[in-house]
């Protein structure tokens, strides 16, 4: 193998396998991001409005996830839980681990967003006769949700990047696939160049999408 010349045949031979891995990376990320969105929305609201029982439980969940490494969380779910009789397959651990991680960070994003909604807006809505749910859906969510948007999208990008850690449970997403190809072909330079380029394209296009979306959804005063 010539070391510095990139062998383009590599892409022809391994393109299919890499696309399969990329598909799984995107698939798992999509499930986890959707789940993290729902968790963040519900628990973030529970934290911001101090809903009894739910709020303290959510606080413990957030602190445990945020203060322990996600890799150890993956180890717990996949290698430790079977010891106590809970057996999850690699795919379940794949989306569950990154979803739980993203959900915890998103709870904080949404909590901060809801808490940033000026109290007078909510008072005005109550004054107009909205019930608590009406106030949340019509005032707190549209405003707080948009305040939380930039930080929550950063969390989604991290969720996507964290799927690479699923390599440790051999879930065949992009990174695992690339390392398997590397073991077979020994085309190390090609493998890691392609792997890096794919991740950068994914992450950079997501960041570009944020900027577009931010411009669209930003609150009038933030413009």
């Amino acid at each position: 193998m010539s070391v510095l010349a990139f062998e383009w045949g590599y892409l022809v031979e391994n393109g299919d396998a890499l696309l399969h891995g990329l598909y799984r990376t995107i698939y798992v990320s999509a499930i986890a991001i959707a789940g993290a969105f729902v968790i963040g929305l519900v628990l973030g609201a529970a934290r911001a409005y101090r809903i009894p029982v739910v709020s303290p439980v959510a606080a413990v969940y957030v602190e445990v996830i945020r203060n322990t490494p996600i890799l150890v969380q993956i180890f717990m779910l996949y290698f430790a839980l079977p010891e106590v009789g809970i057996r999850l397959d690699a795919f379940t651990v794949a989306w569950l681990s990154v979803m739980l991680w993203g959900g915890a960070f998103n709870t904080e994003n949404f909590r901060a967003g809801f808490e940033a909604v000026p109290e007078r807006y909510r008072e005005a809505a109550f004054g107009l006769g909205f019930g608590p749910l009406g106030v949340f859906l019509n005032v707190a969510l549209p405003i707080g949700g948009r305040i939380a948007l930039p930080s929550s999208i950063n969390t989604y990008i991290s969720v996507l990047k964290n799927t690479s850690l699923l390599y440790v449970i051999s879930y065949p997403e992009l990174t695992t696939t690339a390392l398997q190809i590397n073991a077979l072909t020994l085309q190390t330079v090609e493998t890691f160049t392609v792997l890096a380029v794919i991740y950068l394209v994914l992450v950079w296009s997501m960041s570009a999408a944020i900027r577009l979306l931010e411009g669209h959804l930003a609150l009038p005063e933030a413009r």
Partner: protein
């Protein structure tokens, strides 16, 4: 407590936790030095330099840290045998690249937030660009950098576990080795699975280190805000 607990915890604390702290300290110092330098240079109005630093930041922030560490550990030696690193070093380099990208971005913001009069006053006192930044601007900017740096430390400590994947002996790796050893049939091990207790303990140790630091970061942020 069962007999296996003492030797295992002894091994994990002396070998594993030590490796974790080593990687964390080296990575934090490296990330700070390179990050503050790049972030300060980023405020210079010279397009090619700014573009180069931007590219550095976007690449190392964009790649998953695991992929960066794989590139350093597997791809660099394949490109040139001189670039072969031990797992511990490769992990530290990966974390420095990622961490310095984070620090550079925050430093730029902190330096820009120092009022222009400070630059002008320092220039009037006869400081050159370097003296102006080292003695006047950065000491003020670093104060604003404190909360994000504590958060970075938490992130670095947690991300040291990624070194486990390439076999560096940090806390998670020492835990995995202990689990494997205990699972092996006698006389090597006990033929017992203790994954839950051991990985649970790893989780608790990381929590005990990280939680006070996250509180500290939040407190500093409130106080400096």
């Amino acid at each position: 407590m069962p007999d296996w607990v003492h030797p295992v915890s002894d091994y994990m604390f002396h070998e594993g936790l030590r490796g974790t702290l080593e990687i964390a300290v080296v990575s934090l110092v490296g990330a700070l030095v390179i990050g503050v330098l790049l972030g300060t240079l980023l405020t210079i109005d010279f397009r090619p330099l700014r573009a180069a630093i931007r590219l550095y930041i976007e690449v190392w922030r964009g790649l998953p840290i695991l992929v960066t560490i794989f590139i350093i550990f597997f791809a660099l030696p394949a490109a040139s045998p001189a670039l072969e690193f031990s797992p511990l070093t490769a992990a530290a380099i990966g974390l420095i690249l990622w961490g310095s990208a984070q620090v550079a971005e925050t430093t730029r913001g902190a330096v820009v937030s120092i009022p222009r009069e400070q630059h002008e006053a320092a220039a009037a006192l006869g400081f050159g660009w370097i003296g102006r930044h080292v003695f006047v601007i950065l000491p003020q900017a670093l104060r604003r950098l404190l909360p994000p740096v504590v958060s970075l430390l938490v992130n670095i400590i947690q991300n040291t576990t990624i070194a486990q994947v390439i076999g560096a002996n940090e806390l998670l790796e020492s835990g995995e080795r202990s689990v494997e050893r205990l699972t092996a049939p006698p006389p090597i091990g006990l033929g017992e699975v203790h994954a839950f207790e051991i990985y649970g303990a790893v989780m608790v140790v990381f929590f005990l280190i990280s939680f006070p630091l996250t509180r500290l970061a939040a407190y500093l942020e409130r106080r400096l805000a």
